[in-house]
């Protein structure tokens, strides 16, 4: 589905959008969270081997809380993008319908 008005292409392909969304979710959000989790595990392992006590626990809690906060923000950001993309696709589809109707 693509609109071509006065030589200007407002082209889009709903399948491309879905593929891009899936890729962004997997490659940007999923990989980022996985990478942070793995790196945080290594850091925790080090701390557990070198530092004990209440300060060490608080340090690990702070690090974990920050990582979780960032991971959650990444997921929330993706949800906004997903909804935005669908809104754009819907607007384009209804614009397409309107143009076709106009020619009937």
């Amino acid at each position: 589905m693509a609109l071509n008005i006065e030589g200007a292409t407002i082209g889009f392909d709903a399948n491309n959008v879905q593929t891009a969304l899936n890729n962004l979710n997997t490659k940007c959000i999923g990989d980022a969270i996985r990478k942070m989790n793995d790196s945080m595990s290594e850091l925790r392992e080090y701390v557990d081997s070198a530092w004990v006590g209440a300060s060490a626990e608080q340090f690990k809690n702070n690090m974990e809380a920050d990582k979780n906060r960032i991971s959650q923000a990444l997921q929330d950001t993706y949800e906004v993008l997903e909804s935005e993309m669908y809104q754009i696709v819907d607007e384009m589809a209804s614009a397409d319908d309107e143009l076709v109707k106009g020619r009937e």
Binding site: I5, E6, A8, I10, G11, F12, D13, N16, V17, T19, A20, N23, L24, K27, C28, I29, D31, A32, K35, M36, D38, S39, M40, E42, L43, Y46, V47, A50, W51, G53, A54, S55, A56, E57, Q58, F59, N61, N62, M63, A65, D66, R69, I70, Q72, A73, L74, D76, T77, Y78, V80, L81, S83, E84, M85, I88, E91, M92, A95, L99, G102
Partner: protein, 156 residues
């Protein structure tokens, strides 16, 4: 009667306005998410340094720097995500670019805050160690007073 050209022109204008509004609204929402998350990052040293040696502190800083580097590599890898968005055009591509820019800035703020904490760690550790030393000196001094008092009591 309006011409076909102006009718289509107005129609395209309306569609563009709606799409611009969708993009602007999403951008604001994403900026708020990023802003809120980064403003709530912890002071990682808030629990103090009890039980941590000076050498342990140096090793911990190296481990933290390695963690920061992993996140930095992640941010840099997003520059190679052009292939994800290259199939897109127009507003959907703009939305994807804005999204990638936002998550890069989120992760960059996270790493920058952590690097700042690493830079401030030595001073925080020194302050903590000196206050710890001062507390133990106070305790030692009090203990000495108690011993002296006890001796006095015995002498009495």
């Amino acid at each position: 009667m309006p011409s076909i050209k102006s009718t289509i022109g107005n129609f395209v204008h309306d569609v563009q306005d709606k799409l611009s509004s969708v993009l602007a609204s999403a951008k604001t929402q994403i900026q708020n998410i990023v802003g809120t998350a980064t403003s709530r990052l912890s002071n990682i040293w808030s629990g103090g340094f009890t039980g941590m040696s000076e050498q342990g502190m140096a090793d911990l800083k190296a481990q933290l720097s390695s963690y920061c580097q992993d996140v930095q590599d992640l941010i840099d890898s997003f520059d190679q995500t052009g292939d994800i968005t290259s199939a897109l055009r127009g507003e959907v591509q703009t939305a994807a670019y804005d999204f990638i820019a936002a998550i890069k800035s989120l992760l960059q703020a996270y790493v920058s805050t952590m690097r700042q904490e690493i830079d401030e760690a030595d001073e925080a550790y020194r302050n903590f160690a000196s206050s710890d030393k001062s507390i133990s000196q106070d305790v030692e001094s009090s203990a000495s007073d108690i011993r002296s008092n006890a001796n006095n009591i015995r002498l009495d």
